[in-house]
Symmetry: C2
Subunit: 482 residues, 2 copies
């Protein structure tokens, strides 16, 4: 039993079975885990997540190797880690079919509305998603102290709040959504019964968090369209059992000190490591939502219109692989590689490669690329927040201009310093690249100053503390802090 | 000069050059034209539309053959028809690239958000769209009487209201949108400058009409997101030049007498003309928005789950071809044909063909199919209104159950009698088919009664008169009728 329980699909550590039978580990990927890990390792809490790898399953089953490892588990600090094991097919259908392929693309407006359909097979996958949520809810119910608090993280666990509330009405429940939230029309593409179950599931919480006001407002509108009694002004929804659910936004920022420590771990950059001349840099997971292809198209359109920049500007596309087991992601990677080749073939010269595609899984080195950029491109189709935008402006050493998609949550925080673009508009991106490269030093410095201030305004520790405090207030029937 | 000018992309008559050099004509297709033609032919008005065919261009140019024809122009009644001719490439880019491929799919949530992008080429097409709108505005400005009224129809002419207002501030301007309208997030996929131009263009009108409240509310939300001063309660927007724009919905219904006269023109149905046993019927243009493929999937899922119905139920898919010059539509037709073959191959027997695909362009015969249906399926992905749903319940002679997409505007009018479904949910459609076929006669009769009342509540003549009266009120600085 502990005062605080945190549950997220992916945990802070990922375990791997080594050929010698031992267990290795690495940091769990993703912005949420990266933000939470440093905050939680100093707290006596329980962190529950899914066993995703074979190594995770060994640890989750409490096998001897795992016990051995748990004595030397690095960097969990005071947080106790618990890994839930699932029947493999159940977990895969929940994670791949429902979470990744449906909910993720739904909230990013990337469903293929011409071909997708919800059939019996999808409903069977949804039953798996329900099962995974039930297991999480049961584990949280077992781990939470009397009148304790449980934080359920993201769209993988949208049904768990109501399941947990039924088991443990005494605990305070927060659910935080880290992706965007679509408006009622697009959200309504989901089958009515399943959409209803999703909303009712989330409304089992006392407090629902989103990364920006925009996603919170869309969620309120979805609840209103579904017939709930919604007070949009106050951000309060009356759940079916009558309890009040408060909806708030918590715009996650960056811990500047920690980021600098991390950046210093990178080796000194070699000259021209990321390309020659002035550098246009992007750093992303290889992900359709990140919009790398249209970024390349925009860069090609810029080169087309500005022949004088040939040989003078290089675009460094730094990516790490994401969900490589999904066919969509394999195809996306192949398309990106193909487009890079096309551009280099079309515009390149013996002494100049216009685009450098750098696939790596090395955060410090990615930070080095951000540091030496003259222009940063962060143009996701949609994005819950996008921490790369905030990290980049903090580590950059050249007063880089940040070209930022207005559909990223980060745009709400960084709009005073960033150059906002529509991520579907490659002509606009081409113009923005030209404008950014021509921007006078004084304006770049002034914008960078504003960007740095905004990027650090809500570092993870404070961000988490505010959520906690709001949950405590809500449980005492008070409103969250305005 | 005439008191009323109506402008629509497609006119009430379509002309064709005959091999002998003469001109033939046929009725213009589409729900809007079908509704307007009987209303306008009794009025001394000018109807301006685009010359779309070679025959149209001859008529539009006022060539001798056309003059000859105009003396015997059938069924225009008192309405004077004027066809505008455009440079072919300009019109095609405006019509295909902007209107059909972009605005139409945008408002129906059918953009391919993974691949579409707005580049310089698209902006060149937009310039063509602007040019076509300018020509329409100029023609309307020339045709309208002092203090007359101009009705501009649909998304093809979204920029024309502001252009017309600048030329003729004395005339009253109504613009009516006949497709759905997407919410601000999805609408925001359009480039910012072009979306801004579109809204500002429409806001040149005094009165903006939509086919249901839902689309009107989405439009108001889009204007609010774009920074306009919007009174959502009253449906009023303050345009940039300060004038008030009223936003109203006009839910078009069916003229029952005219429909019956038309239905009587169909030949007596031969036994089993549309299939054997009980009949599930749909009648649609061959159009991705009409969702024929998911309709077929739902029927297949129904057959899968109800083997006892094999041989007892047939699905008649009655379609006429639409935009056959567009590759998307050719592919869609091929997919539909392929899916029909698959289902017939999978479930068919020597004595029973489960699906009959009937491609025709014969409204009376389509009405006959609706008349003998036991179940009517109208499941568009999205739809401004869908008059087939309303026509079908009026001509049907078997108290058919209407299974209707909740994303059709018609769902707002017919919800008390229809069986509403989510158009993406093929499992739900399969269940609805089973439920509809099992529905007791008493309930079917009661639902049919409610459907017939709702379908005729706003026939075209009254629908048009209300719009006219509202425009007159708005011009006298009064509010439209509540």
């Amino acid at each position: 039993m502990s005062g605080l329980v945190v549950a997220s699909n992916r945990g802070p550590l990922q375990f791997a079975l080594r050929p010698d039978g031992g267990l290795g580990w690495s940091r769990g990927a993703g912005g949420l885990v990266s933000a939470l890990a440093p905050v939680l390792k100093g707290r006596a809490c329980t962190w529950i997540s899914a066993a995703m790898t074979d190594g995770d399953r060994v640890v989750g089953a409490g096998a001897p190797a795992a016990t051995q490892l748990s004595r030397s588990q690095p960097r969990l600090g005071r947080a106790r880690l618990r890994l839930l094991t699932f029947e493999r097919a159940t977990y895969d259908r929940s994670y791949q079919e429902v979470a990744n392929r449906t909910l993720w693309f739904l909230q990013h407006h990337l469903l293929d509305t011409r071909t997708l359909s919800f059939d019996e097979r999808f409903r069977a996958s949804w039953a798996c998603y329900r099962e995974v949520n039930r297991t999480f809810a049961a584990a949280c119910a077992g781990a939470a102290a009397d009148d304790g608090s449980v934080h359920l993280e993201d769209y993988h666990l949208a049904l768990a709040p109501a399941m947990l509330r039924r088991r443990r009405p005494d605990v305070g429940i927060l659910h935080l959504t880290c992706c965007p939230w679509a408006g009622p029309d697009y959200f309504g593409i989901l089958p009515d019964d399943l959409a209803g179950e999703l909303l009712a599931g989330m409304l089992g919480a006392d407090l629902l968090g989103f990364l920006t006001d925009r996603w919170a407002r869309n969620f309120l509108a979805c609840c209103e369209a579904a017939g709930y009694d919604v007070d949009r002004e106050c951000g309060v929804i009356r759940a079916e059992d009558g309890h009040k659910v408060h909806v708030r936004s918590y715009p996650l920022g960056v811990d500047q000190q920690a980021l600098w420590r991390l950046a210093q771990r990178a080796p000194t950059p070699r000259g021209g490591e990321f390309g020659q001349g002035r550098l246009v840099v992007r750093v992303d997971r290889m992900e359709p939502t990140k919009n790398i292809l249209r970024g390349l198209d925009g860069f090609a359109a810029f080169l087309e219109r500005h022949p004088r920049c040939h040989g003078e500007v290089t675009h460094a596309v730094v990516t790490n692989l994401s969900r490589p087991e999904m066919a969509e992601y394999q195809r996306y990677r192949a398309e990106v590689e193909h487009r890079v080749e096309e551009i280099n073939h079309c515009f390149g010269t013996p002494s100049w490669t216009p685009v450098r595609l750098i696939v790596l899984d090395d955060h410090p080195r990615a930070l080095r690329a951000m540091a030496v950029a003259d222009v940063l491109v962060v143009n996701p189709v949609w994005d819950g927040m996008n921490l790369v935008a905030k990290e980049a402006v903090l580590v950059n050493q050249r007063d880089a201009v940040l070209i930022l998609s207005r559909n990223a949550g980060a745009a709400d925080d960084l709009r005073s310093g960033a150059w906002l673009v529509n991520p579907f508009d490659t002509a606009e991106l081409a113009e923005a690249l030209a404008g950014a490269l021509a921007m006078p030093a004084g304006e770049r410095a002034e914008r960078s100053r504003r960007l740095r201030t905004a990027a650090t305004s809500m570092p993870p520790r404070r961000w988490f503390a505010v959520q906690n405090a709001d949950l405590a207030r809500v449980r005492r029937s008070l409103s969250p802090e305005p």
